[in-house]
Amino acid sequence: MQLTLFWIFSSLMILFGLGVITLRSPVSCAMCLVSSFISLAALFITLDAFFIAVIQILVAAGAVMVLFLFIIMLLNLQAEECRRLRFPVILGGIATILCFLILLSQVLASNPQFLEPIPALQSTLSDVKMIGMTLFHSFNLPFQIIGLLLLVATVGVVLLSRRTLK
Amino acid sequence: MIVHRKKLNWIEKLYLPAILGGLAITWKHFKKSLLGKGVITMQYPEEKWDAHLPAWYRGAPTLVKDEHGRERCVSCQLCEFICPPRAITIEPMEIPEGDPWRKVEKAPQKFDIDMARCIYCGLCEEVCPEQAIYLRKDYSITGLNRTEMIHHKEKLYEMGGVMHGLVFKWNEKK
């Protein structure tokens, strides 16, 4: 059951991912990205990671991508024109992919532990509580620092987007 | 004139009292109507406002006869010309020899008003020199297709009926 679901959603995800890079109209790309996020959330659900799945939908699909779509609509972006692919470009692309694959295989081969399925976490806590515990007990300081950084970034953005700087 | 906006105090700025006040008003109306009081709706086909129609109400245009049973229309076609949406079509004919009203000379052979076009403006009534066409109080004119919406002469006389008085000039002529 879990395996079939995995295959269904992972192939959907790859399909939509391909859509993001091959489709020409920006709205279609954005919608493909949203769909692939939702398939990713479904994958998380098959792993019983409800919290991450829901956060994935809430943040990525529900907030970030809506803003993307909003901006695509506002700027009225038209479909991209097809560029003619030149030979060196294709060669470069293939080389990049090859490099990535070689690296990946090296990393996987370096430690046999990576190939083994990791046993599921056995915990009596619900996953929300578990994430909260991890964040606020083991990683409290980094978490606070990230929070502060985000706050600074937000203030910076607000300042920059003001029309006139006094 | 300058209207000064009232400064709101902080309770008014919360808007909640005003919203609750508004809700109370609509609730009062809701309750009253639920009990059947103060509902102003008229249940149309059963209740009609015929009795409330004013004297000058402009309903469907009709043709009338005078007290001798004579068609008042003399086919002058003024109404056909004035009608803004060209709803009226008239075919005149000569009144045959031997008719007591032969002196009138003309009468309509065909008189059609296309009620799908009529805009109930009343110009035909106003222009008619013979006071032969009147807008009556019929307002519910329906038909299943366009041809049914054309009122022919017979129908127009049936709706119009007899109109007394007013024009006697044909009696004075010999």
Partner: protein, 400 residues
């Protein structure tokens, strides 16, 4: 002769053994789970869709009564068949797509508008239990977040409709709607955090059970362990009252009240109901994002909007008004009739809330867009954040 023998004589032996093995399969734990879940989903969907069409009818009747009119009262007794007539009319109309519209997204958008509000219903506990089967389709441990997530993707239908219609009014409606929904989602989510902190769970079932034992979220105090027997003993009743009303209970009630207010008002913005219905402001935008739709395309938007309203009402009921619980009424473990009564209580609460939604719609005039944004960002957002701190402080004091 017992019942199974009686039934078996109508089947050939082979068919009977097949039926019996099918019956066994249905009674295995996973088989039982599958068919009860299917049955629950189908029945809930049917009930909700019926409720949707009658909410439309109620909207028309109540608005008429508020305005001293009568409203639709012709089709069937008191116009009760009006929704069916409306649906038939919409089905028979031409489903028109404008020439300049983007056909694929134009058609997709109307479906996307209908799906998310229905998905929300999947995690709501609409009853306690019936014959031992819990009356929640999926009781997941992040139920409340799931509701927020689904409502956050419900904006896609509107945005895509506005964009793909390729005409200015729908476009403006789509832009307004997306900015409005993003802004109010924030206060919607933040206003719920005090509830989660006090209950200590995101599971909607647990939130309801907390309210059954500790009292509804919007109640300042709650008698403990009240039932029909204690009603007869004033002394016991008084004791249960005094046990339930404490300073800590009262202190926690303050942030919950603020939460409720913010959530309730933001719900109006999230479902595009009248004080905040700018995406489809008829006077300025004709019909907003669904201007170009006709026939079933329009019907889906319309139904989606009302389903969202029902989903919103049921979320409010679940989180703040005690879900299916009512004082004195036990849950479904006390007998299946109590289970049915619990379901009835839940739907009654929803219907009352829907009435309030309609009542407010026909009372309050529409906001201006900048007022709406100011209210969302300058007032509700700040209030919700402050409320979280307040709740945390009070909780730290109370828990000591």
């Amino acid at each position: 002769m017992d019942a199974s023998n009686f039934i078996s004589q109508f089947f050939s032996p082979a068919a009977w053994t097949l039926l019996k093995s099918l019956g066994h399969l249905l009674m295995t734990p996973s088989g039982f789970f599958i068919w009860t879940t299917l049955l629950k989903s189908i029945i809930l969907l049917a009930v909700i869709l019926g409720l949707v069409s009658y909410t439309v009818y109620a909207e028309r009747r109540v608005s008429a009564l508020i305005q001293d009119r009568l409203g639709p009262n012709r089709v069937g007794w008191q116009g009760l068949l009006q929704p069916i007539a409306d649906a038939l009319k919409l089905l028979l109309k031409e489903n028109f797509t404008p020439k300049s519209a983007n056909y694929f997204y134009f058609r997709l958008a109307s479906k996307l508008a209908m799906v998310p509000p229905v998905l929300v219903l999947g995690v709501l506990p609409f009853g306690s239990s019936l014959f031992g089967v819990p009356m929640t389709i999926a009781s997941i441990n992040v139920g409340a977040l799931y509701v927020l997530a689904i409502s956050s993707i419900s904006v896609y239908g509107i945005v895509l409709a506005g964009w793909s219609s390729n005409s200015k009014y729908p476009f403006l409606g789509g832009i307004r709607s997306s900015s409005q929904m993003i802004s109010y989602e924030l206060s919607l989510a933040l206003s719920l955090i005090p509830v989660f902190m006090i209950v200590g769970s995101l599971n909607l079932d647990e939130i309801v059970h907390y309210q059954v034992s500790h009292g509804w979220m919007i109640a300042p105090c709650w008698p403990q362990g009240m039932n029909f027997h204690t009603l007869l003993h004033p002394l016991v009743l008084w004791k249960s009252f005094s046990a339930g009303c404490s300073l800590s209970q009262f202190l926690l009630w303050i942030p919950l009240c603020i939460s409720f207010l913010i959530f309730f008002i933001s719900m109006f913005a999230e479902t595009n109901r009248l004080p905040f219905d700018l995406p489809e402001a008829e006077q300025e935008l004709i019909g907003g994002y669904h201007t170009e739709y006709s026939s079933m395309g329009f019907a889906l938007f319309f139904l989606g909007e009302y389903t969202a309203m029902i989903a919103g009402a049921s979320v409010i009921t679940t989180l703040f008004l005690g879900g299916w619980s009512l004082p004195l009424i036990p849950d479904g473990s006390a007998g299946w009739w109590w289970g049915l009564i619990n379901i009835a209580v839940f739907f009654t609460k929803i219907i009352l809330l829907l009435f309030i939604f309609i009542w407010v719609r026909w009372t309050i005039p529409r906001f201006r867009f900048d007022q709406l944004m100011k209210l969302g960002w300058y007032f509700f957002f700040e209030l919700a954040v402050a409320n979280i701190f307040l709740a945390a402080l009070l909780l730290a004091y109370v828990k000591k």
